[in-house]
């Protein structure tokens, strides 16, 4: 996020796009609700009717995957009506003219045909956004989990740059991070392209710096991103080490991935539970949960905060960092002697200027929002204060490209997937909480009442959801939350894995899979009692310990 979570309540306009905020980020949703109570305007762009759209001034119910059309049309209106901040653009940006040329073709009327959003609503939202000073954009994976994810983000940032809604309180460009430490994992260099603190791995000087600090020459072979690793599983990738990740639940098109996993030679899984991926593991290492170890998490607004040990881990389970240190030592690498986890943070901070001013001691009471470059520097509440960080904000003209897969006669519906309030991702944790499991015990597929009637599907019936990649059985939830052309299911349920259905086509830049759009059909199930569920507990440990 360029800005901070507590600033949201003071904003005057919010564009929430591709974010089911009240279910995925309930506490940020509370801030938004406060803002709306105070009189802020709210525009929600989402293919589904969600809680936030029920209190919104405008619900732009777009066709999944048509985001670039919508965003370029918003830009079109701003340019056509002269609402852009010309002075700010001249001072702080470059490349506006190409965007201006590109969006000229994206008229609201044509946008209505593609996105399904009325042209007048597009005009109203564009005007409201452009003419409100404290106007913020908030987005989540509904923007990024597309083959056009990077384009979607560019199209959003064009809006921010042309209106100058940057560098002040309660505005900006705000991706809401899906997990507690997505930000922190990226910050720490857990990505093939960056060393800690966003220092490019392709930069020779950076590699030399880390090579010297770590005492090992660094490879100049570019790393594979997650999507590439999954696609090259078994062919190029022969050994895997998974820490706290259940790939056969979470990766797209897992049917193919599972076949490929049989072709690898060695896999380690390190987790707090026996997860689905353990079926393919040669070694499973028991880890400590968050309440059993010390460290830091970094949240969406770049706030580095402490994680503290409250209880001992069960049995012989150990903190992930202790396990990693042992594996490193046994593989012949000699780390410096760390007296505790604070020393590990200090090592990282010494190598990454963005965090150089952060230490466990400094964040003992309150977190710090990076960049914090010296030990006496304060938090950075919002970025780009007094000018865009890179000097000039760069406009990026983007053209609409359709999703990888579109509805066709054979697969006439568009399937989208997502999270619910009561569960969390692979749900190894939340399905073990009785009150949550009761509130939401099983997978479901949302189908519009008219679509359901045409198909002969009754509310609560078991149906098969079928795509070119797989078939999953779950309960039909007939609901007006979705459009007639769209169906939606949560990805939390191991016995009905949504990711058997999704496509692993990824964004060209990030490799992020298109979880939000694929072509699907619904098939009726003859025997309504047939349930593809493990008996008893939803996962049977016995099943999981035997290799498939």
């Amino acid at each position: 996020m360029t800005n901070s979570i507590p600033e949201i309540r003071d904003t005057d306009f919010m564009l929430v796009i591709g974010s089911n905020t009240s279910e995925a980020h309930p506490i940020i949703a509370m801030e938004m609700k406060q803002a709306v109570r105070r009189g802020a305007k709210l525009a929600v762009a989402d293919p589904r009717a969600i809680w936030m759209s029920s209190i919104a001034d405008w619900h732009l119910q777009i066709e999944p995957g048509s985001d670039v059309w919508l965003l370029n049309a918003l830009a079109h209106v701003i340019v056509a009506e002269g609402l852009e901040d010309k002075e700010w653009i001249a001072e702080n940006t470059e490349g506006f003219d190409t965007v201006k040329e590109t969006v000229a073709a994206y008229t609201p009327e044509k946008a209505e045909e593609v996105t399904g959003v009325p042209a007048d609503m597009i005009r109203e939202v564009a005007r409201a956004y452009a003419t409100t000073r404290k106007a913020g954009i908030y987005y989540t994976l509904g923007i990024t989990e597309h083959t056009t994810g990077t384009d979607n983000v560019y199209a959003l940032s064009n809006l921010v740059l042309m209106t100058g809604h940057l560098g002040g309180p309660s505005m900006g460009m705000n991706p809401l991070r899906g997990q507690n430490n997505v930000q922190g994992a990226n910050d720490s260099g857990a990505t093939p392209v960056f060393y800690p603190g966003y220092q490019w791995a392709k930069d020779e000087d950076v590699r030399a710096k880390f090579g010297e600090a770590w005492g090992v020459e660094q490879s100049d072979v570019p790393g594979l991103n997650l999507n590439e690793m999954m696609k090259k599983m078994g062919t190029h990738v022969k050994g895997m080490y998974l820490m706290g990740e259940d790939i056969v639940m979470s990766e797209p098109n897992v049917g193919r991935l599972e076949e490929a996993l049989n072709g690898i030679e060695f896999m380690v899984v390190q987790d707090i539970f026996l997860n689905e991926s353990c079926r393919y593991a040669d070694v499973v290492l028991p880890a400590a949960a968050f309440a059993e170890k010390d460290g830091v998490f970094t949240n969406s607004d770049r706030r580095v905060q402490r994680v503290r040990k409250a209880v001992d881990p069960p049995g012989e389970a150990r903190a992930d960092w202790e396990i990693i240190l042992d594996v490193m030592e046994r593989s012949g690498y000699e780390n410096p002697r760390y007296e505790g986890i604070a020393d590990v943070y200090a090592e990282m901070a010494s190598l990454a200027p963005k965090f150089a001013g952060i230490s466990h001691e400094r964040i003992d009471k309150d977190g710090l929002q990076w960049p914090v470059e010296t030990m006496d520097a304060p938090s950075t509440i919002y970025l780009h204060k007094g000018g865009v960080l890179r000097g000039k904000g760069l406009f990026q003209a983007v053209e609409y490209r359709p999703p990888f897969e579109q509805a066709d006669p054979e697969y006439p519906l568009v399937l989208s997937t997502g999270r619910t309030l009561y569960h969390y991702n692979a749900a190894t944790q939340t399905r073990r909480v009785d009150g949550l499991a009761e509130k939401q015990p099983e997978a479901f597929i949302e189908i519009h009442p008219r679509t359901a009637r045409v198909l002969g599907v009754e509310d609560g019936a078991m149906v098969d959801v079928v795509t070119r990649r797989g078939r999953v059985r779950c309960r039909a939830m007939v609901s007006r939350q979705v459009k007639r052309s769209t169906i939606w299911m949560p990805f939390h349920f191991a016995e009905a894995r949504a990711n058997l259905l999704t496509t692993d086509a990824g964004d060209a830049v990030t490799g992020t899979g298109e979880y939000k759009v694929c072509a699907a059909r619904i098939e009726l199930v003859d025997d309504p009692d047939v349930r593809n569920v493990f008996p008893g507990s939803y996962q049977s440990p016995v099943e999981l310990t035997t290799k498939q």
């Binding site: 309930p26 090992v216 997650l226 040669d282 998490f297 040990k309």
Partner: protein, 358 residues
């Protein structure tokens, strides 16, 4: 804008337009006790604890609700203020359980804490309120104990104004006034999202947590450990309430409003989804797979040797770039740092990505 002032206990205060007497007083560190007030919620002036004297006004004014006016002369401590406060506290205490041990059996009790500081007008005959409970509410988390409720409506106001779901409401009138749901449905069948905010704001423990109540240790006997939530990316701060002797997390409470990014709020997962930590399915020992294809328990020594042998074997046969390392955005920053260091420094490959990348 003209600066406007009022006087509190003889001190002249410049106040901001729209500010209440309570807010103006706080700015000069004058502490006016409150019971039914929460900064996040519109004032209701229901409990009458915060009444102060305003010169020229026959009646005392609730400071949480009365707006500052130019030239007001306010007294927050006087025999009259104190008498009123003690009277109100006695009234409320007659409406809730009188035994302090019972009153503090689970959550802290702000009513008793206020009585400790300000005294009461004596112990009055207990009002046997015929307030209705919801004994048949089957939700697993939130329990309403009607005998503790004093009808301050902090819970329903929180539900309306902050969580915004309006699942609970004041029902009935007079002494029958209670906290209820539409048709007295279980919370799980209402718009309730089980955020548990009602528990956090309740001053008397009328709203409480079922599991913690069943555990049987009052909150004051538990140790609070401040940490960061392990679910979504908001970074809510949590206080894990730990029973040290039993090595057990009994419940989660939010830090006070206004102190952290979550402003005293939590969602259903942050507050209630912690059973997994002590779940019987937790992995407690390393497992290695034998030739027969079955995972069996092993010592750390054996398991770690297998890990290093396995990974180095792949490097020997196919080179370092045939390894893939996937770390977790659920793990700490230090763990992710060490994991990528392991990939790059110990095994020589940039094939490292965190799980949230796709």
């Amino acid at each position: 804008m003209n600066e406007q002032t009022l006087t509190i206990n003889g001190v002249t205060v410049v106040y901001r337009p729209g500010e209440t007497i309570l807010e103006a007083a706080r700015r000069i560190d004058v502490d006016i006790p409150t019971l039914c007030h929460d900064d996040r919620i519109e004032p209701a002036a229901a409990c009458r604890i915060c009444l102060v004297e305003v010169e020229g006004s026959r009646l005392m004014q609730p400071s949480c609700h009365s707006k500052a006016q130019p030239g007001m002369v306010i007294t927050t401590e006087s025999p009259r203020v104190s008498r009123n406060r003690q009277f109100s506290l006695s009234l409320h205490m007659a409406d809730t359980v009188s035994d302090r041990t019972i009153a503090e059996d689970a959550n802290p009790n702000r009513l008793f804490e206020l009585a400790d500081v300000h005294g009461t007008a004596g112990v009055w005959a207990h009002v046997d309120s015929p307030r209705q409970g919801r004994p048949l509410d089957v939700n697993r988390f939130i329990h309403f104990r009607e005998d503790r409720c004093i009808g301050c409506a902090l819970c329903t106001r929180y539900c309306d104004e902050i969580e915004g779901v309006t699942a609970i409401t004041l029902a009935h009138r007079g002494a029958l006034t209670t906290i209820s749901t539409a048709d007295e449905l279980s919370l799980t069948d209402t718009t309730c999202e089980l955020c548990g905010g009602c528990i956090a704001v309740c001053p008397t423990g009328a709203m409480t947590e079922k599991a913690a109540l069943a555990y049987g240790k009052p909150e004051k006997e538990l140790e609070k450990i401040r940490t960061t939530c392990n679910f979504c990316g908001v970074g809510c701060q949590l206080d894990l309430n730990v029973d040290r002797a039993a090595n057990r997390i009994v419940k989660v409470t939010p830090p006070p409003p206004g102190t952290t990014v979550n402003d005293g709020n939590l969602c259903v997962k942050g507050r209630f989804a912690n059973d997994f930590i002590h779940h019987k399915d937790r992995l407690t020992e390393p497992l290695v797979r034998d030739a027969d294809g079955v995972l069996r328990p092993a010592s750390w020594d054996e398991a770690l040797d297998r890990v290093v042998e396995g990974l180095q074997g792949v490097v020997t046969r196919h080179g370092p770039h045939s390894l893939g390392f996937v770390s977790s955005s659920r793990c700490t920053g230090e763990e992710n740092y060490l994991f990528q260091k392991m990939s790059r420094a110990a095994f020589g490959t940039h094939n490292i990505h965190q799980c949230a990348a796709t």
